[in-house]
């Protein structure tokens, strides 16, 4: 059921108590109504209900740009993917080249914003005030990054690969407000699994999700999944552009956790953000309607980890004191959402706090402690859902 009065227009200074952010629904080309964070720099959050399935519909997939100058029209007769920089032979590939000269491959992978759930932070931090909906899972189809790179021949003294798309801003050249670029280390194993995708869930990419092609870096946060990918540059020294040197950095501490005091004291060493820690979400029940004592209900949601497949999902009916094993849905690959479900027959009327936690194949378990860092990154605390069970007579 829905709120009969409008929710407040903001949350804070406490943590946002809602599953999604409290923003208005808006309509954009190729999209269903989504929750607007910002409109110039477009940032749109996916509502909770779209996470009932392992694959998130393209029309509902979240959108996160940093800068305002993005294309709404692309001419494939002139668009080219350029592989340049520290390479033997720079190449310029058309969409037709990508479709005809390279073998297509597919991978199911979760795309999650580094700042997903930032509105949970205490104290609150500036940035996109996402609830849990800055994530989505899709079946991505395209060309292996390594196949493209062999066509250009990356030189042996390369240290990083830089990715740039058509996202630009009106700020001065040389500043982060002018262009968005991200780099991955040349020896990062993710490059072997990365693809340049021209298809998302079997369709061309929506414009707002990176048409005509975007980078898929399985297991990594979305910041590396460059949209409208147009330049891949081999670098022989590390990228020092704003989006690598200053933004998207996490404390070099367990879980990326630190305190405002340590930040103020200037004691915290940082590193670029990388893989996504294990997470799980309760999608249903959402607490907006009462449950009926004696009537079974399916508690269900999704789980994933950037460190490999989810091996276990546990559900608690008592706010995290005791845990029971949930059943896992189909396995679509180690980087995909995995749906989970748990049959519950509440026998006693009352108030219950449901909770869920996932474990991945490396043995990482979701913690019950919050995380704090100034970027608002890496939230993966155990999720809870309050529900009310009414009597049946």
């Amino acid at each position: 059921s829905q709120a009969s009065e409008a929710l407040p227009s903001f949350t804070g200074p406490q943590a946002n108590p809602y599953w999604n952010g409290v923003n208005p629904f808006v309509v954009y080309p190729q999209k269903l109504p989504l929750l607007r964070l910002t409109d110039r720099g477009i940032q749109l959050e996916t509502p909770r209900q779209y996470f009932r399935t392992a694959f998130t519909p393209n029309e509902a997939f979240f959108v996160r740009y940093h800068l305002d100058l993005i294309p709404n029209s692309i001419d494939l007769s002139s668009w080219r993917l350029n592989i340049e920089g520290n390479v033997e032979k720079p190449v310029s590939l058309s969409m037709q080249d990508l479709l005809e000269r390279f073998k297509p491959v597919s991978i199911a992978a979760v795309n999650q914003c580094s700042g997903n759930s930032r509105s949970r932070f205490q104290p609150r931090v500036p940035g996109g005030q996402w609830g849990n909906g800055a994530m989505g899972n899709a079946l991505w189809t395209g060309v292996r990054l390594m196949d493209l790179l062999s066509a250009a021949g990356v030189k042996s003294d390369t240290v990083q690969l830089q990715f740039q798309g058509l996202e630009r801003g009106p700020g001065p050249e040389g500043k982060g407000s002018h262009a968005f670029m991200k780099s991955l280390d040349w020896n990062d194993p993710v490059l072997q699994e990365s693809i340049v995708a021209y298809q998302m869930n079997g369709e061309p990419l929506p414009m707002l999700n990176g048409f005509p092609v975007r980078l898929i870096a399985p297991g990594k946060f979305s910041t590396y999944w460059m949209k409208h990918l147009t330049w891949i540059r081999a670098l022989n020294k590390p990228d020092d552009n704003f989006w690598m040197a200053t933004a998207y950095r996490i404390p070099d501490t367990p879980r990326g956790n630190t305190t405002p005091a340590d930040i103020a004291a200037g004691k915290v060493k940082t590193i670029p953000i990388g893989k996504m820690p294990v997470r799980s979400f309760i999608v249903d029940p959402d607490g907006s309607s009462k449950l009926i004592a004696g009537l079974p209900v399916e508690i269900r949601g999704v789980a994933f980890s950037g460190y490999g497949r989810v091996t276990k999902v546990e559900v608690s009916l008592d706010g995290g004191k005791t845990w029971q094993i949930a059943s896992l849905g189909a396995f679509y690959g180690p980087y995909s959402f995995r749906t989970w479900s748990f049959q519950w027959k509440p026998t006693q009327p009352g108030r219950y706090t449901l909770a869920v936690r996932a474990t991945d194949e490396q043995g990482n378990v979701q913690p019950d402690e919050p995380v704090w860092n100034p970027g608002g990154y890496l939230w993966n605390r155990i999720e809870r859902q309050d529900v009310v069970v009414g009597t049946a007579s």
Partner: protein, 105 residues
Amino acid sequence: QGTLGQVLQPLPVTNAQPDGVYSVGAWPQYTPELADGPGKELVQSYCQVCHSSTYITMQPPLPAATWDAEVQKMIKTFGAQIPDDAAQQITAYLQAHYTPETRKQ
């Protein structure tokens, strides 16, 4: 302003040519009103050069010092061209309307 709350049905691309151009409609804007008060016009002219003022209203209530740091970040890190005097008035405006003590809307 975009058509808030009105669902646009998928429009058949009957007018499109079978060429290499792939287009969608213009990006709509959904920018909420800023709080009224001295400095509002300065925010509208200087802070909307690179992004909409929705970046301000989207934030949770932030402490006064954080707003000061945000304005300095826009100038020093992102290269916003704002004279000192205007920057001070913008900071004062943000502190008067968007801190835990002052935020109303």
